[in-house]
Amino acid sequence: MVATPHTPDRERDQGFTRLIRRAKRQDMIFLACGFAVLAMASLTLLSLIVGLAVQGASWVDWQFFTSFPSRKPEEAGIVSAWVGSTLVMVVTAFLALPLGVGAGLYLEEYAPQNWVTDIIEINTTNLAGVPSIIYGLLALGLFLFTFGMGQWILVAGLVLALLILPVVIVATRESLRAIPDSVREGAHALGADKWQVVRLYLLPAARPGILTGLIVGMSRAIGETAPVITIGALTFIAFLPAAPIDGTFPYLNFEWLTSAFTVMPIQMFNWISRPQSGFHELAAAAGLVLLVMTLLMNGLAIYIRYRLRKAPSAE
């Protein structure tokens, strides 16, 4: 720049000051906008949740957890629903964990770079985006009418396991990827073969990450309605499945797997669809229980991940 006389210099400075002030103002305005939207969305959700709590809280008592559904709102409860949800979740966890971890291990540690692997990868990503009602149609058409299964706890657990499979696979792969290659190389150098590396080093190190993924998946599965509703999970169930544990050898009883059932979200859906306001309050109570359950599970998962990030895997 050529040396300029005094006055234009000051004018230019003032121009800059104005520009800067305007730019800062623009930033402030946007900052306020962004914060306002964030606050509005949070407040809306918060008020909805508080509303749910206000409607339902007075119904949540011991009787609510121990009673069967009933035609009279004041006598109705969720015992068959929470027992059903628990048993379905047991099946889901037992299926989704080995399948998801196995698939994750295969894709991350074993799979060669070829078209078969590509197909499995793309397929897994796309499955994650398939609407859950489609899984319901899969259960109805394939499991019930092609394989001849019934409206069982086993079928519900199976469908939900397939639904959350992508979540477990992705979590497994991410935690495997986070393990440095030096661990693998060191173990191989000590004479371990592939499976020994996986079993003795990789799986233990990946365990917290896998657990997080499983919990997130389970919390999604427990709130899912659409995939279970299509197999005709009856909404009026006034009995409990056979107990999984009994007094005679071998102490385990698998009759419950083929029992009819209902689950929490379906019970809630059933109560919402009735016209009487008593049932709407029951629905709010069931929703509250469901919400607390899923938030606790998600919170636990986030907490584990947070702990994980704070203390990088030293072992």
Binding site: L19, A23, K24, Q26, D27, F30, L31, G34, F35, V37, L38, L45, L48, G51, L52, P98, L99, G100, V101, A103, L107, Y110, A111, I120, N123, L127, G129, V130, P131, S132, I133, Y135, L137, L138, L140, G141, L142, L165, P166, W195, Q196, I222, G223, E224, A226, I229, T230, G232, P265, M268, F269, I272, S273, A284, G287, L290, L291, L295, G299, I302
Partner: protein
């Protein structure tokens, strides 16, 4: 080292043989687990195709895709999917009208403006929100939002497309936010620094540098959010009504594709009847639409990962 060779413990041949066998078996087991997802897709495609093909022997595919009346459960049956499709698109449009501007703003705010400590709090909360069961959102739509809207719009029915659309918008907002925020965070810091050095403020940097840089990722967020809204079931099954109606008016009550599937599935429709096949035909259409959007989203997301 060489003089110690005699002391070295040699694994027995039997041990090595067993280890090799276990290794081979586990490889097979893991491959089997990996291919389960392929079988799931195959199962979905098979069952949708099989039942739809039987359906299309009775009803021409042209009538299905262009017909304007959908009354499979009535005495005089019509099989035009357009009413269900129009309601699905209307709800989706309302949801996106909330989720796209809201999600983009929040994403820009979180990625470019928010102090790191606030972001640390907000990100987990967004994840928590994604975990709220959809049936609970359905309850909100029918019993909170619709009565509230009726105060403002007195002519609104108890069932309508507006309220589930708005609730669905709030529901997918966290998802749109987190996918677009991921894309914006992936834009390298040096591009921002270059923009600041040229005198851009943070807003200009966000809009003129970061957003164009993250465009494919942000578009992916919109497309994937749209696919979620189209396939979302419980909110509309609860709050949108059950009558098929060809409409693009959010004030109307109308059944969407997923809502229709639920309606039939909870009723007593016998296996093998034409009513039963309609839910598979409708499901097949839904599957094709969401799959298309998901593939577009997948490609777009992969592109932004490749650039940086």
């Amino acid at each position: 080292m060489a003089e110690n060779q005699a002391d070295r413990v040699q694994p027995s041949a039997a041990f090595l043989r067993r280890r090799r066998r276990v290794g081979t078996i586990m490889h097979g087991v893991l491959l089997a687990a990996g291919s389960v997802s392929v079988f799931v897709t195959a199962g979905i495609v098979y069952i949708l195709a099989k039942e739809s093909l039987t359906f299309f022997q009775e009803v021409s595919i042209v009538e299905f895709l262009t017909g304007t009346r959908w009354t499979p459960l009535f005495a005089s049956k019509n099989f035009g999917i357009l009413p269900l499709l129009s309601a699905t698109l209307t709800v989706t449009f309302v949801a996106l009208a909330v989720a796209i501007p809201g999600g983009t703003l929040v994403a820009i705010y979180l990625s470019e403006f928010a102090p790191p400590r606030l972001r640390e709090v907000i990100k987990p909360v967004l994840e928590l929100l994604e975990g709220i069961p959809t049936v609970v959102y359905g309850y909100f739509a029918l019993l909170f939002v619709t009565p509230l809207l009726q105060l403002v719009l007195p002519g609104l029915f108890g069932f309508n497309l507006l309220s589930p659309g708005l609730v669905m918008g709030i529901m997918i907002l966290p998802y749109v936010t987190s996918v677009s925020e991921d894309a914006m965070r992936a834009v390298p810091q040096r591009l921002r620094e270059g923009a600041y050095a040229l005198g851009y403020n943070r807003f200009q940097t966000a809009v003129r540098v970061v957003m164009p840089g993250a465009l494919s990722g942000i578009t992916a967020a919109y497309v994937l959010g749209m696919s979620r809204a189209i396939g979302e079931t419980m909110v509309v099954a609860i709050a949108a009504g059950q009558m098929a109606k060809l409409t693009f008016n959010p004030m109307d009550a109308a059944a969407t594709i997923p809502a229709y599937i639920v309606q039939v599935a909870i009723g007593d429709v016998a296996h093998g009847t034409i009513e039963y096949q309609t839910i598979f035909a409708a499901g097949a259409l839904l599957f094709v639409i969401t799959l298309t959007f998901n593939v577009i989203g997948f490609v777009l997301r992969r592109r932004y990962r490749e650039i940086y």
